[in-house]
Homo-oligomer: 239 residues x 2
Amino acid sequence: MTKANPATSGSAAPGAPAAPGPAGADGTGGTGGTGVRDSSPRARFRGQIRDEAKALALRQLAEGGAQALSLNAIAKSLGMSGPALYRYFANREALLTDLIVDAYHDLAAAMGAALAAAEPAHQPHDRLAGLVTAYRAWAVAEPHRYRLLFRAPLFGYDPQAPALVEASQPAMTVAVEAVTPLLPRSAPPTAAAALATSLWAGLHGLVSLEIEGNFSSMGLDPVPLYDTQVRAILHAAQA
Amino acid sequence: MTKANPATSGSAAPGAPAAPGPAGADGTGGTGGTGVRDSSPRARFRGQIRDEAKALALRQLAEGGAQALSLNAIAKSLGMSGPALYRYFANREALLTDLIVDAYHDLAAAMGAALAAAEPAHQPHDRLAGLVTAYRAWAVAEPHRYRLLFRAPLFGYDPQAPALVEASQPAMTVAVEAVTPLLPRSAPPTAAAALATSLWAGLHGLVSLEIEGNFSSMGLDPVPLYDTQVRAILHAAQA
DNA sequence: TTGCTTTTGTTATAGCCTATAACCAACGAG
DNA sequence: CTCGTTGGTTATAGGCTATAACAAAAGCAA
């Protein structure tokens, strides 16, 4: 877990003319998502610390929710004192954004893997079911990270919205891939997007309720509900 | 808006033996949800101030998200200074819980009204569609309040969980009512709960995506998606 | 009316947090 | 070896939650 592709954000532009404060290195730099393998040993160290910080952040998140995430505490836990961490993350929100982007990457990877694994001879139906299972499994395994994905507007209204929108694309692409073979060939091009969105919405609703304990608190078995969802998508595709 | 039934929480037990600090009246008391009409003029005033505080809180919430809600700022905005507000709300979380409970009440009321309005001669299908429309309309009209409902775990892990679970019941009850007549008479008693949950999950997923702008950012019209959801529930009910 | 109790407000404080400033040490390329 | 970049430190400014201690106002009872 916590591995993500170095997709976003290149290293910091080194042309910055002696910015004041500990924001000298504006915190944006370092290795993109989490990739530790980078050119200079300097950058490697940097990436490593960033990763440790992120890991600690995830722990805080898992234990106390988003409000419990404290740069200060992370820094102290890392052995460095307070403001030092601002050398690595521009601010609290930047760290959160990073975590969100990582989570999107991982979720998309899990979905893609499920789709690829079912590839060979399986029916489209089975591929879809596999995708659903993978999505659910990922969310249930790390609910705090799943929550992160759909709570962005909560902390900071308009954050790095573009980065987040971009990060969410791969998962959507996988959903479209899973859904396209279900449609008749005469379907209009927007149909796949619409169906994938229906799928996503249904899944998200189920997962949301499940990870907040709404099923167990009602004594309901989630599995048949997910099955129903799969059948509903198949039905909608053929209608 | 912001009207809710005085359902929960009676007035503070006046027997408390001289508790220290401004928590003398433990902040729990006052008029329940929002009902200003209460016995003594004292209590009326109290309820009034609580209401104003809540209104300000909702404004903060609408503008800056949950993290922007500050008791301090509310108090100052109310003309009183800082800690005074702790006479009215035990702490930040208590205020949030109150807002959540109110929101649940209002949502349930909106749903119930939709169901009642469609009552006379309409088909079960139309009643269901009306319910869906009402749910969506409520959420879209006040997204910040809708978010509140499903974000409880985010601020404070284990808050007044029982109060929240209890508050969510009426809405669920309405959903069950809407769904029951769709089922064949031979259906087992759990079927209605399961179907209502499916409905709720589907709706929640769609609404979540819609209020976070995922549809408009993809150029999708939400309406057909909600229609699909209605049809899916009808289909599931007859299967 | 007088006097006690409850309620509600005040200021002072402790503690935590984000974030910036100013300064210093170490690293590493040239 | 030298000097700029990078990473770390302490000091500081605000802001917030929440409690403590105290003072005034309101209500109730005798």
